[in-house]
């Protein structure tokens, strides 16, 4: 017995240690995603204003104004509410989303002209959001379970930051992408850049987020998110402002009945 404890335990321990060190790329990718998720936890709720500017290949631009509210989900995904202020024709329209992990999200749209709430078939979340270069799936809450991860490398990513470069493949059916490659900074877990690859594996879009600011001394949010479509030459820029945290929103503010207000 003594021999066993003296010999076997250190051996076993060293095996565990080695296997811990030999974390696979997949495990490391997942770990980083979980760390990033944990880093952002506890914000409770937040509100922000967003101006979306679309630009087509002819150089024509068009804007939409949206107010957004988010309630942090505990045990399930976040709940979010988007209120459309412009274009005038859709003023008062509101969209409610309950994100889930692998289960398709629930989504409703309130149409003021009809005074009714309509459910949206959220299997089709690969489609463009209001004609922009952002798909629903790019804007929705990025729950950890929605992807498989693979750590690729670490590299400099501007401003003296270092980034983890991670590949993530959608775990849910009906995604418009075959994979995404994300650059996330190693210190504060800010998502700097994402490359989106379409179903045939071609690089299709690049999202760059900039103007990060810290709120409540903890939570980082970008002020500009710019999406460039490489296939069509079209682009969309989101400008965020007026971020507020812990505003006292509750579940009741994120119900179908709340949509009409």
């Amino acid at each position: 017995m003594k021999i066993i404890t003296k010999v076997a335990v250190p051996i076993l321990l060293s095996i565990f240690a080695v296997s811990a060190m030999a974390e696979t790329a997949e495990q490391k990718g997942l770990r980083i995603a979980k760390e990033a998720d944990a880093y952002d936890r506890g914000f409770g709720d937040s509100t922000a204003d967003m101006i979306m500017t679309l630009k087509n290949r002819a150089g024509q631009t068009s804007t939409r104004k949206i107010r957004s509210k988010i309630l942090e989900g505990i045990g399930d995904g976040d709940k979010s509410l988007s209120l459309f202020d412009t274009p005038a024709d859709v003023k008062g329209t509101a969209m409610l989303t309950f994100s889930h992990g692998l289960k398709p999200d629930d989504q409703w749209l309130y149409l003021p002209a009809l005074k009714r709430v309509k459910r949206i078939n959220s299997r089709n979340k690969s489609g463009p959001f209001m004609g922009s270069e952002f798909a629903f799936e790019d804007l929705g809450s990025q729950e950890v379970e929605k992807y498989h991860y693979k750590y690729l490398r670490e590299e400099a990513c501007g401003k003296g930051w270092k980034c983890y470069v991670t590949e993530r493949t959608p775990a849910y059916k009906y995604s418009g992408y075959s994979k995404q490659i994300g650059w996330i900074d190693t210190k504060e877990y800010r998502l700097v850049k994402v490359e989106f690859y379409d179903r045939k594996g071609t690089k299709m879009k690049t999202l760059t987020s900039s103007g990060y600011q810290q709120y409540l001394g903890k939570y980082w949010r970008p002020s500009v998110m710019s999406m460039q479509n490489h296939l069509t030459g079209k682009s969309t820029v989101l400008r965020w402002s007026n971020y507020k945290f812990k505003t006292g929103l509750s579940k009741r503010d994120f119900s179908k009945n709340a949509l009409a207000r």
Binding site: A58, D89, Q107, L111, N121, R123, S126, P128, K200
Partner: protein, 768 residues
């Protein structure tokens, strides 16, 4: 001077050969810059207003470049488990096509229906293998009654279906670069379908396949026409000269000319296109004439016992002037193609002009050098004198019948020229390819059984953001769509008004009586928002609605109709919109529209080109013949052939287009050669030997008659080879050019001599 040149040339013949060879190699290295441009847009100037309109439309929405995979089940039934499952599989694989941004088929058609209080937006069907008979019938009923699908993704009789792949060229790339990749993938997909679903016949068409056909037609021509022309020229030179040397020297001159011209084209940045690919055949055909003139005189001299070098000096002395002159006028004719509105014909003109110039230079350098370097023995033939005798008796006949000939030739010319206006303009670009090119047969089948490849897009602009949801605007869009559907040439109309009507019906429990436009702007806008939010990747409305929702694209698919009908349709639409839908009035844009206008535009611009060429050539003739009056008279045999040919064309074909509009200018420089030869001999006889007009005609016939026969025959043969091209523009150009040359010979032999005799007084009184 020429004698001096000739003597020193033959003294330094090896050095000359080496020098020329180095020059050719230097020019030839330009060939590595040659690339094939297989974008149909190459036929248009970059600033062509209709091209710009179409590009602007595509930049506002999405591109139209596509591959359409037509699928015809052998049992004639699309709505079976097997065929629907195959379409599902093919749709999935079509997404893998490089540069694809959208795939449309029955399988991924986003069918909307009312589901309780909500609206369901989903694929028309999934897992076709497990569908019940009842479900199959339901799917069929939806599909054949859906205006978006019928005549596009499925035929009216439900016996043919299609998968349409939209290709978007990335901003930093171009069509030429991506076509081969796309076509490779699509052909692999076709092979896969043939293997996996043998009960499906596959047809490939669309803009990308058409662009690819440009390259394939050119390859076909390269591998068939050029060898054929070579063979023919070889045979001709052999029959004519019966000299091994002659053949070698001639072949070398024309091969070098082609290499030089194509190499220089590379250096000057010319891109290859089907019209350009006809230039080797043209250079071959034209280059041989210089050689034949030089060699036949050389051999004549040798037969009369003169040593080969001395014979060559004599041949150069006699021929240098005429060869220089004819090469110059031919080059001017080709250079006048620079007035063309279609860049490929400008390129063709420049390459041919370079080739003709090169052929001239090589004929006076390497041809004499090489021919005299090689050992040669000349056989005595009496064929020549026999031919000459024929020409002499022919001239007797012409002189005897001069009055009748003048009358009848003039009458014939007038009648034919009167017929010229009965030609109609026609540029059906699908018909640019003949049945040897698979694109053509596939397209014909798809057009016959499923849909059209002709289309016109209208960007209906309501001018204010969001205004496409305005009931007044929507009502006009609907009215316009309905009117279009009643037009006989229209196969399909893709319009947003149908989508609004369908959504309104869905929001009212699929009640057919609600299949009408929403009456309220906000309601319409919000229906659209709900629908847009429900569409998956690649099937969005960005191809139909601009980002400001102020304009919408309406696409009209049409039967393959003539240019006349397209122009007439354009006018009808314009008038109707002014009267009925002024709020959304717009002009159609598409390749169909672009090609409909290019023929007329090119004819107008080539009229200037032809006039400039005519003036230049006439001045050259006046100087060369040393007489203004003879120069003016030469206009008759120079211009009449083209007029007669177009009249004759009205009888045998009657349709002219892009390619034929350049023929007059192009042939002017060629037909003038015969006139130069005939007139110069005539004038020499008249002035120097003081012969009477009739005797001068006899002299001209006996000296150049045979040569004119032979060179015309060679030209006709060369251009007839071109007329067998698989590319209609080249084929038509070849055939019409041959006809012009035949009429030119007729004019020189039958019209010019009687005219000379008749107008002898006026002509010979010039200097008194």
């Amino acid at each position: 001077m020429i004698e001096k040149y000739a003597k020193s040339l033959l003294q330094w013949q090896v050095q000359v050969l080496l020098l020329v060879f180095i020059g050719v190699v230097l020019a030839a290295t330009g060939a590595r810059n040659l690339t094939f441009n297989n974008d149909y847009k190459i036929f248009f100037n970059k600033d062509d207003e209709r091209l710009l309109a179409f590009e602007n439309l595509q930049n506002t929405y999405t591109k139209n470049d596509n591959v359409l995979i037509g699928l015809a089940p052998k049992d004639g039934k699309v709505f079976t488990r097997e065929t629907l499952a195959a379409i599902e599989d093919i749709t999935e694989r079509a997404w893998k096509t490089p540069y694809s941004i959208r795939v449309d088929s029955l399988a991924n058609y986003q069918h909307t229906e009312s589901a309780g209080d909500d609206m369901s937006v989903a694929n028309l069907y999934e897992n076709a293998k497990n569908l019940s008979d009842k479900e199959l019938e339901k799917i069929k009923q939806i599909a054949v009654h859906e205006p978006l699908l019928v005549h596009r993704q499925v035929s009216e009789k439900a016996d043919m279906a299609a998968v349409n792949i939209v290709i978007e060229i990335p901003p930093e790339s171009d069509m030429t670069a991506i076509v081969p990749e796309v076509v490779k993938h699509v052909r692999e997909l076709k092979a896969y379908i043939n293997k996996t679903y043998p009960e499906l016949a596959v047809y490939l068409t669309g803009i990308v396949m058409m662009n690819n056909a440009f390259a394939e037609a050119s390859q076909y021509d390269m591998s068939h026409l050029i060898p054929m022309t070579f063979l023919m020229i070889l045979l001709m030179v052999f029959l004519l000269l019966r000299s091994f040397n002659g053949i070698i020297a001639t072949m070398l001159v024309i091969i070098f000319s082609i290499i030089t011209a194509m190499g220089l084209a590379g250096w000057t940045g010319i891109q290859l296109s089907p019209p350009v690919m006809s230039s080797p055949v043209i250079i071959l055909t034209l280059g041989v004439a210089d050689c034949v003139h030089l060699l036949s005189t050389w051999m004549q001299q040798m037969r009369s016992g003169i040593e080969k070098k001395a014979a060559m000096v004599e041949s150069l002395r006699i021929n240098f002037g005429p060869i220089f002159l004819t090469s110059l006028t031919t080059a001017i004719g080709f250079l006048s193609l620079n007035f063309s509105d279609a860049p490929p014909f400008r390129d063709l003109g420049n390459i041919a002009a370079m080739g003709v110039t090169a052929a001239f230079l090589f004929s006076i350098t390497i041809l004499p050098a090489l021919a005299t370097l090689l050992p040669s023995n000349v056989k005595q033939t009496d064929e020549e004198s026999r031919m000459k005798n024929i020409m002499v008796s022919f001239s007797e006949w012409v002189i005897a019948k001069q009055k009748i000939l003048l009358m009848s030739m003039a009458t014939l010319a007038l009648v034919l020229i009167a017929l010229v206006p009965t030609n109609t303009l026609n540029d059906i670009y699908v018909d640019y390819f003949d049945n040897r090119i698979q694109f053509r047969t596939d397209t014909d089948f798809v057009v016959k059984n499923l849909t059209g490849v002709y289309f016109i897009d209208y960007s209906l602009d309501a001018k204010k953001p969001g205004a496409i949801s305005e009931p007044e605007i929507l009502a006009q869009i609907e009215k316009f769509s309905e009117w279009l559907r009643q037009q006989p040439e229209v196969i399909h109309v893709n319009t947003i008004s149908d989508t609004f009507k369908r959504l309104n019906r869905n929001m009212h429990g699929d009640d057919q009586s609600w299949y009408r436009l929403p009456k309220n702007r906000e309601l319409a806008a919000q229906y659209l928002l709900l629908y847009e939010m429900s569409l998956p990747y690649g099937l969005d409305l960005n191809n139909q609605i601009d980002i400001d929702k102020k304009s919408t694209r309406l696409s009209v698919t049409m039967k393959t109709i003539s240019t006349q009908n397209i122009l007439e349709f354009e006018k009808r639409v314009d008038a109707w919109m002014s009267a009925n839908t002024p709020l959304i009035k717009s002009i159609g844009a598409s390749p169909t529209v672009m090609f409909a206008h290019i023929g007329m535009k090119n004819i107008i611009s080539m009229l200037t080109g032809t006039t400039v060429a005519l003036i230049l050539i006439s001045i050259i003739l006046i100087v060369a013949l040393g007489s203004v009056r003879y120069g003016l008279l030469s206009l008759a045999p120079n211009l009449v052939p083209a007029g007669m040919a177009f009249g004759f064309w009205a009888i045998i074909d009657g349709e002219i287009g892009l390619a034929l509009s350049v023929v007059t200018a192009m042939t002017l420089g060629i037909v003038v050669d015969d006139t130069i030869h005939f007139l110069s001999k005539y004038i020499r006889a008249r002035r120097e030997q003081n012969l009477s007009a009739e005797d001068a005609v006899r002299y001209a016939f006996s000296t150049v008659g045979v040569a004119l026969w032979v060179t015309s025959l060679a030209l006709v043969a060369g251009f007839m080879v071109l007329s067998t091209s698989s590319f209609e523009l080249n084929a038509g150009m070849g055939l019409l050019t041959s006809i012009v040359i035949v009429f030119a010979l007729m004019a020189d032999f039958l019209l010019l001599p009687p005219l000379l005799i008749k107008l002898d007084n006026w002509l010979s009184n010039e200097n008194k």
